[in-house]
């Protein structure tokens, strides 16, 4: 089961879950992913220790996609 989550004031919220590209849940996840991108979030796929990839399209095969806010120098 793949998950799309967003880091927010609750810790994180699960926005969608899907099992594969043909899954109806995947279409909902794509919609949710685009909505979050439009809201200014950035999609990141954690790929084990030390690795992460920024994505602009929801990868169906990813187990976990995390939406994060932009960072900036303080």
């Amino acid at each position: 089961m793949s998950r799309l989550i967003r880091m927010d004031h609750t810790g994180h919220s699960t926005l969608a879950e899907w099992t594969g590209k043909g899954d109806a849940g995947f279409e909902a996840a794509v919609e949710a992913f685009r909505r979050e991108l439009d809201a200014g979030y950035i999609g990141v796929v954690p790929e084990g220790e030390g690795h992460a990839t920024q994505v602009t399209e929801l990868p169906a095969a990813a187990e976990l996609v995390i939406m994060r806010r932009p960072i900036a120098g303080g």
Binding site: M7, H12, G50, T53, Q54, A72
Partner: protein, 232 residues
């Protein structure tokens, strides 16, 4: 996925005037910082010595100069350490959830360090990082110098572990880009930072230093995480 993946941080577009950070640019910045600190110290030490040589009764003024020579580097280091001090609302109700997610992102050892100290240890190409809520420390290979970076998300309502996770994910996506986006707050000897670091956080610095030292030794390749591509 390959066509939709981006290798550079999106946030770099906000700082187009900055040259992309690299090991050599950080080393140059470190040397410049050290030179400036030395200049600041000498600027006060010389007048103190000259005044005392000309007229010993001016020693109170000389003491004032010596105090300045001591305080200025301390203030710099204090500003550097400030980047990893806890900041903002604690949001305790959501912190447990956020801690779980951050724990999933970290390896076993780094997870333990983070739970004990609040700092996430992350080896990279540029050295060993300690990621906090609103900034990060980078210990360069060898573990003698530390760079302090002030960087974070603007979302103050996020629980602390989520703020760490934001920085960790950005760092893992593009390490040099992360170092470019972040503002540099200090660069200097590790002992300067250690003295100012809260005792509860010092174990993280010690662990990072051990890893950073190994980056210069025969085990260098083993100490580098997959994030570094094993090429450090």
């Amino acid at each position: 996925m390959a066509t939709a993946a981006e290798t550079s941080l999106t946030e770099l577009s906000a700082v187009p005037w900055r040259e992309r950070a690299s090991a050599s640019s950080l080393a140059a910045f470190g040397r410049l910082w050290t030179a400036w600190t030395a200049f600041s110290v000498v600027t006060f030490l010389v007048p103190a010595a000259v005044l005392f040589a000309l007229e010993p009764l001016t020693f109170p003024v000389g003491l004032g100069c010596l105090a300045h020579a001591w305080v200025i580097p301390e203030l710099y280091a204090n500003r550097g350490v400030g980047v990893v001090r806890p900041k903002g609302p604690r949001n305790r109700s959501a912190e447990l959830v956020a801690q779980g997610l951050l724990g999933d992102l970290l390896g076993h050892d780094a997870r333990e360090v983070q739970r004990q100290t609040g700092l996430a240890l992350e080896p990279g190409r540029l050295g060993v990082w300690l990621v906090g809520e609103a900034g990060a420390l980078l210990l360069t290979p060898g573990g003698r110098r530390v760079h302090c970076f002030c960087v974070g998300t603007r979302e103050r309502e996020l629980p602390p572990s989520d703020r760490v996770a934001h920085l960790l994910l950005a760092l893992r996506t593009d390490e040099e880009g992360f170092a470019t986006v972040a503002n540099r707050a200090f660069s200097g000897a590790v002992w300067r930072v250690r003295r100012r670091l809260a005792p509860a956080r010092r174990p993280a610095l010690a662990a990072a230093r051990v890893r950073a030292r190994s980056l210069c030794g025969p085990d260098r390749g083993k100490a580098v995480s997959p994030a570094a591509g094993g090429s450090a």
